[in-house]
């Protein structure tokens, strides 16, 4: 059995005087896909933002490779890739420029690999067009192109299937499955009917939390 990458112990979160979850404990192991489930407003996005290190509205313990996360912040951030509701794409820049800017602080790479990644998300021919001329789904694909070159062991993906067409969804399912087979860990939320074999489920219901393998 391998060491967990990320471990949550008795996680508790309260927003605007409403408790979203409490006593939430789980481990994210390498080579797993975990789907966070729950109704609207059950705290899926909040949980992912907490795991990514964007939200401070939590209590409990978060361990990265066995160490308290706050003590290893920069190494933690290097090892985690988070894609949120907002794609993180500048409308004035082209897909290529956006991708390069997103990679610059983590792992800069040459244009060739980036062009290839964009082509494989179905954006061939659009590399130099300002993103504001692209559709919502295409902008989302620019953000997803990062996954094709990412080396981070843990991916946190919040509603990545939004605005993606049916064939795209299938392709991304395959990508996540392959990633897990390589040994990466993926945690994601979606309201789409996504089929990935061996997916673990983390269910958030008000007041009680279920986690099964």
């Amino acid at each position: 059995m391998s060491e967990p990458l990320l471990q949550a112990i008795n996680l508790q979160c309260e927003r605007d005087k409403r408790e979203l979850f409490h006593d939430l404990s789980f481990s994210i192991l390498p080579a797993t896909v975990t789907r966070v489930e729950g109704a609207n407003g059950s705290g899926k996005t909040t949980l992912l933002r907490i795991l990514a290190g964007l939200s401070d509205a939590w209590a409990g313990q978060l361990l990265w490779c066995g160490e308290p996360r706050s003590r290893v912040r920069e190494s933690f951030l290097r090892n985690v890739l988070y894609l949120g509701h907002r794609p993180g794409i500048k409308p004035l820049l082209s897909p290529l420029e956006n991708l390069r800017a997103l990679m610059a602080g983590r792992r800069p790479m040459g244009n060739k690999a980036l062009m290839q990644a964009l082509a494989r998300t179905g954006l061939a021919g659009y590399e130099q067009v300002p993103c504001r001329h692209l559709s919502a789904g295409q902008q989302r694909r620019v953000a997803l192109a990062r996954l094709l070159v990412a080396d981070e062991p843990l991916w946190l993906l919040d509603e990545v299937f939004t605005a993606i067409d049916a064939s795209g969804v299938v392709a991304i399912e395959n990508l996540l499955q392959e990633r897990a087979a390589e040994g990466g860990a993926v945690v994601f939320t979606t309201h789409h009917n996504v089929q990935i074999a061996g997916t673990k489920r983390l269910v958030l219901t008000p007041g009680a939390v279920g986690y099964d393998d």
Binding site: E74, S75, L77, R78, K90, L92, L93, A104, P108, P153
Partner: protein, 235 residues
């Protein structure tokens, strides 16, 4: 196959350069926006001869103060955009999640802001200085004080911009929080020009403004970074 945790791949300076370069590129894609603070600067200066008096003696006496106040207001006006667009499109989240000390990235963003707003204001000052009948020496000193002072305005302003990010009526609130903190820079900026006009040596005053800049450079990015984290956590 197993994936091992990764080590840092990029130096902080590289990351800062990338943030700076991206902000410059975005700004130059929308060049007309760069003109707005400059136009505002000129308009505010124009209001004084029209609203108070076009007399040469008045303008000579008040000119440096007018230009400083106008520059301060234009910087204030532009601050609202410092983080807002990044916040709206999600790039700010990705910035905070970069495996780098956040204050350095914020510093890079603030420097880009100064190059795009403060510096053009300084370059425009000689023209407006002539229009309010300042003499050559005063204009030179005024430009120098603005050159040292406007980065301080950007650095302190970034704290306010980060604190008010995502709030309703953030623009007004930003001004309320920041204007009191601008007062020392304003006092020494205009005071230096006044002292120069009386023939007093200004080296010490300029050094003091420089000290403000050093202090702001060392402390303000930490405050902005902390404020950014709070604002993002709240969104």
């Amino acid at each position: 196959m197993m994936i091992k945790p990764l080590d840092q791949a990029v130096g902080s300076i590289e990351a800062m350069k990338a943030v700076f370069a991206r902000d410059m590129k975005v700004a130059f894609r929308q060049r007309q926006d760069l003109l707005n603070p400059l136009l505002f600067f000129m308009m505010v200066v124009t209001l004084f001869p029209l609203g108070v008096s076009p007399e040469i003696s008045f303008l000579q006496e008040a000119g440096a103060g007018i230009l400083w106040v106008a520059a301060l207001l234009s910087v204030l006006l532009s601050l609202d955009h410092l983080f807002r667009h990044d916040f709206d499109d999600g790039t700010l989240e990705q910035l905070v999640l970069q495996p780098q000390p956040l204050f350095l990235l914020v510093l890079a963003k603030t420097m880009a802001h100064w190059v795009l707003t403060g510096l053009p204001l300084v370059l425009l000052t000689p023209v407006l200085g002539v229009m309010v009948h300042l003499d050559g020496n005063s204009i030179a000193i005024l430009c120098l004080t603005l050159l040292i002072g406007t980065p301080v305005l950007s650095l302190i302003g970034a704290i306010g911009a980060a604190l008010t990010l995502g709030l309703r009526s953030a623009g007004v609130l930003l001004s309320l929080l920041i204007i009191p903190l601008y007062i020392p820079v304003l006092i020494f900026g205009t005071g230096t020009v006044a002292a120069a006009a009386e023939g007093a040596p200004v080296g010490a005053y300029l050094a003091l403004l420089g000290a403000f800049l050093v202090l702001a450079l060392t402390l303000a990015p930490f405050a902005s970074a902390a404020a950014l984290k709070v604002s993002l956590s709240n969104s």
